[in-house]
Amino acid sequence: MRALSIASTGMLAQQTNVEVIANNLANMNTTGFKEQRAEFTDLLYQNVETPGSQTSSQGTYAPAGIQIGTGVKTGATYRITTQGDLTSTSNPYDVAVQGSGYFRIQQADGTDGYTRAGNFALSPQGQLVTQDGNVVQPGIAIPANTVSVTINAQGQVNATVAGNATPQTVGQLELDRFPNEAGLNAIGGNIFLETPASGSPQAGVPGSPGYGTIQQGFLETSNVNSVDEITALITAQRAYEMNSKVITAADQMLQQTSQMAQ
């Protein structure tokens, strides 16, 4: 009786589906979060009779054959990298990317990470850092006696220092883009890492062709659509329930079998 194991693969797949939906909903208010979706593929087929096998010496063929499937598996959980909405925060160190590209940051171990979450702050040394204290690359130091900071669409950081009316350029934000954004490895903390699937990062100046522009005083919200997620959740729950019904039915048939031999 394969039905039992087939239905259990169906239940496992729907469980993964619910987990992915739960994570999307949990991150509804996470800055720069990109929703994920689980994708399913069918498992291998057992060929009892191969389609097109000959059924007589007169050249007649089985039109369909007998192929019994063995269930379903999770093919991938992929990230949908559409733009999230921008919300105004009025904080001068909050920057949002409108378009493609990731900010490059240096993690505590010295390796590079990439993020869309532009809720930056200043370190005690006046450096532009993420909420976890990772330094934004290339490093930008804001002078101690700065009155105001402006970041333009091209990522140029200008600071107005006390006693000097003319703003001075203190740094330039860069964006990195990847041949395949969906192949980045999410490690939590809104940070992504480069993988063989994502391809190598290509750094560029915001606003140049193919790169997004910078919006100061805004944050990119998560692109999770709550209505979509709830609909998906209902579908997943029902699918789970139906697979459990198959297990019950198969179990009843087996019970009947064992009762026959009394």
Partner: protein, 249 residues
Amino acid sequence: MDNSLLVSLSQQLAAYRSMDVIANNLANVSTPGFKRESAKFEEYVTHVAPSEGQTGQQSVSFVKDAGVARDISQGSIETTGAPLDLAINGKGFFTVQTPNGMRYTRDGHFTLDANGQIVTSEGYALQGDSGAITITPDDQNIQIGRDGTISSIVNGIGNQIGKLQVSAFADDSALTKQGDNLYSTTQTPTVAADSTIKQGALESSNVQPVLEISHMIEVMRAYQATASLSQSQEDLTRQAIDKLGAMPN
């Protein structure tokens, strides 16, 4: 040996087979591009010697697997918003290159790989008119038209990248399922006419849960009926042994 027990056995094996097919349909209720299947059976007639008091040949019918029929009707088209999610409305399959040769799929979820090629989630390259399709990071705003033409904007200028190869076959039901939503065949593909491509959407599985659940109940009941038939047959045999074999006092 009693033929009725053997006939019941053939029916019970058929019920198991049906149950497996239904379980696979329900397990794949959210697999994009999945086509539901149903087990088909045929009568297998065999001739037996006439029983006591009868003349002429008698025939007994067994149940035998005939095939698994695939329902190739269109699944509903569900919007996802991902630019490389494609759905075919109408006949035809996307063509992908695998290490084992060309394979065909209705699952239109594609991504880019590290080299910018459009690939399936297993990393197999989607085929266009002239082989694999490569998107460079300079290609912005990728558009895939209803006829499968892929275009983008490079530095503000329109750029045509290629056209999807949508393959159609004379006999869709003769394609062999390979798992991973792929089909293989020895038939020569032709270019699918009249089918349209929708970007940002996926074709969902065409499994109808209500239908499958009612089939499942049907199979279960048929199995129970056959089981009770075998039971009464056995009771009959036991009674005969008890009655006829009773020692006369």
